[in-house]
Symmetry: C2
Subunit: 466 residues, 2 copies
């Protein structure tokens, strides 16, 4: 019956409400009224379970709403965040403090940022200093162990749904490279080409080709080939019995009810989607990579990722102790906003929704000037008088991702807020930050030969100190 | 809502029936009655879909009933046949003619048996002559192509749930070896150790060990190492990107609704079970074995198996054209009865339920004399007078599987029916048939070295003529 649509359920519930009302109006026998009411209540519970909403007479179900884990259903005004869609009604974007409460993770506070600085002896990355990586699970445990010379490894990934990657896609990789450098630990990067095949209207060969093309951009971020293994699911599953064994182990310990609750799968979803979460979970366990970790099954994993990937790893952390493995720790980033504003969705198919890694200096300039949502006022006079709003200004948001100098960023914020800095000038700062950054990326990518890609993607031993 | 139990649904339906009755009794407004009736009808449809039974007031749902594909629900007295359980209320066992109608397959009639004889130039195997392989899908198509020099390949398998294999487990392998010999075609044998891990309380290593032990017994059936590839799912998935690609292709084209309908999975089943059918489907496509078939994706597959495996291949045949592959053809066998009778279940954990491949001559003799269900009469006098019933006599059934000489078997049948042959004498025939057969198997198995197992289980090119 779960393949009844929310609308079907709504209509049945409405009909049953009518039945109850008329039974009462007619002063029908108590037993009849009770039976009808009981059915009504059960239907309301079912409705809430399926739609994540309370039934309200006259209010049909909102399309696309998803079931949340542990019955934590969405309230009006809540942001929607899951691996396939992110939406917010606020120009500032998603309310991340609310998300920490809803997901049950921990805030990355100043104390943790300072501790990372102390432990590594390096200035914490700007993504940490500015709350771009804002939430974590068990990061203190990673640091405790690291201080005792106990090693860990990094795991991140990408779903290669097209050749086109934009600057937002770099966020986890820029940060992961920094983590690899300051902790000197091995890193595995999963390219979920199987997932993209299952979710998109693409052939296996297309998904695999995007994996290789995206791997070039990832490698261009500067990862150390001696410490980094990049793998295509389609290749590695067919190359590593150890990986498949861990996939099957996870698959044995997760029910359809659970993935339905966590990911909102329905009975109409293909069985590939339903079992895929186990494939994203498996790299969280060091025994999936015997070529790197030998027989060790206890090397803990730290996963830097955008917060929308957390459902996969909540599931993974739930399963881990039941199959004898340590839970992976996590560092969560905020979302990278579209040029048009933090509440619109970036799309790889809309070239104007972000700055792509293939954009020329001229395209970067034009896109920012033409499409970047501005927090400035309508006229120069008004702007000078009242100042702009950096909190909703996309150019300022992008600068906070990419401008390294904290003082310079703070000055821009103050000047923009006061009206001393005009929108055109703010945009100029961003253009001058992104143009050389993208050009340098393109130059590094040009040097990534097929041979180098092949090296990164070959299962092999990695070199690291701990 | 599909995780409502059949009993929950039954109770709700009963309550709703009461509501309708009282609405009518009170001459409530037509709209109210109609709404309640409509709901009742929908609930009845849902009930039938979930339980496979019509709702009858006062008759709670029968536990364990399964949903059949294409709405062909079980009727009272029908046998239950699916990959995990087979049960029948008749001492003769499952009604196979009924099963052909229910599964929508074709009967192997005399014409087909004769044609196989003509095409191969060999006497059809006793399993064909005696209706032990009784049902098929597309076997004429295989023969048409074979007559035009178009090759096919054989695929069969085994779920290695324990070390102990009994004579019944040999049926598909004895027959497959004959097919390999007379058609001179390559053969792949899937050991579903991943399936056994998912379904049973066993470790991955145990399941893999059973695979290797069972492979020894299979090899001892006499397969040609140059034409036969035996593979563990746990190994081959991690050794063949081509195999995983076909698994993912199938997984993309089958929904949870479909496997729920075909296999009776529920929301409480683990996601590994739910996606497993794709893994049993994939070897039906020649592109899963590029080491054998090169780039050819169009070599048709013929699957000899017990009829309880048909649900997997109904699903496979449904998917095949949608992913550009030929449908596999099938040859279905009847079930091998337990010593205690055709309606009881054989169990690898009950040493007395069958003749095991490890039994000594003495154990064989004792088991048959002590446990084989007899169709004879209670006293010698009565037996001489009225004769025995070979149709329910397990010793006679076993002889029909293993005694090669048709005339001898027919004579035994007639003499037993007439009373000329006593139960003890019938059992003696069986003992004298099985003792040398099992001894020869044990001797051949003894010669199967680790090296030979390794050869059979290495992905490699096979030699065959077509």
């Amino acid at each position: 019956m779960s393949d009844l649509s929310p609308m079907d359920l709504y209509e049945k519930l409405t009909a049953q409400g009518e039945t109850v009302r008329s039974l009462k109006a007619q002063k029908s026998p108590k037993a009849d009224v009770d039976a009808a009411v009981q059915l009504l209540l059960q239907m309301k519970l079912d409705y809430k379970r399926v739609t994540g909403q309370d039934y309200k007479a006259g209010c049909p179900p909102v399309d696309g709403e998803m079931l949340e884990e542990h019955g934590a259903v969405l309230e009006d005004g809540d942001d929607q965040v899951d691996p396939w869609s992110v939406s917010s009604s606020s120009a500032k974007g998603v309310d991340y403090d609310k998300l920490i409460v809803r997901f049950g993770s921990s805030k990355i506070d100043q104390e943790l940022v300072d501790r990372i600085g102390r432990v590594t002896g390096k200035t914490p990355h700007r993504f940490l200093r500015r709350g771009i990586f804002f939430s974590h699970r068990d990061m203190h445990q990673i640091l405790d162990a690291f201080e005792k010379q106990k090693s860990f490894y990094l795991y991140t990934g990408r779903g290669p749904s097209s050749e086109a990657m934009h600057v937002g896609h770099l966020i986890p990789f820029i940060f992961t490279k920094w983590l690899q450098d300051v902790f000197d630990v091995p890193l595995v990067i999963q390219m979920t080409d199987d997932e993209k095949y299952l979710w998109k209207d693409l052939s296996l060969d297309e998904c695999h080709r995007y994996t290789v093309e995206n791997a070039r951009d990832i490698i261009a971020c500067g990862f150390d080939v001696n410490k980094t293994f990049i793998f295509s699911d389609l290749d590695y599953m067919g190359a590593s019995p150890a990986f498949y064994r861990n996939v099957v182990k996870v698959q044995k310990h997760v029910t359809f009810n659970q993935v339905k609750g966590i990911f909102g799968f329905t009975d109409s979803d293909c069985i590939g989607k339903i079992s895929f979460p186990a494939i994203q979970a498996a790299p969280s366990f060091s025994s999936s990579f015997p070529q790197i970790f030998g027989e060790r099954t206890d090397v803990q994993c730290l996963i830097p990722c955008a917060i929308d990937q957390d459902p996969y790893f909540r599931m993974t952390r739930d399963v881990a102790p039941r199959i004898g493995y340590p839970k992976p720790a996590l560092l969560h980033s905020t979302f990278f906003p579209a040029l048009q504003g933090a509440q619109t969705k970036m799309s790889a198919s809309d070239a104007n929704s972000s700055i792509f890694l293939t954009d020329s200096a001229k395209q970067i300039k034009n896109k920012i000037n033409k499409h970047a949502f501005s927090g400035g006022k309508d006229t120069v006079e008004e702007h000078r008088k009242c100042g702009g709003n950096p909190d909703v200004d996309v150019s300022f948001m992008y600068l906070s991702f990419f401008l390294e100098d904290d003082d310079e960023l703070e000055k821009i914020r103050q000047d923009y807020s006061s009206g001393a800095l005009l929108t055109g000038e703010l945009k100029k700062s961003l253009i001058e930050t992104l143009q050389p950054m993208i050009a340098a990326h393109q130059e590094r990518r040009r040097l990534v030969t097929d041979d180098i890609v092949q090296q990164f993607m070959s299962p092999r031993k990695l070199h690291f100190n701990h």
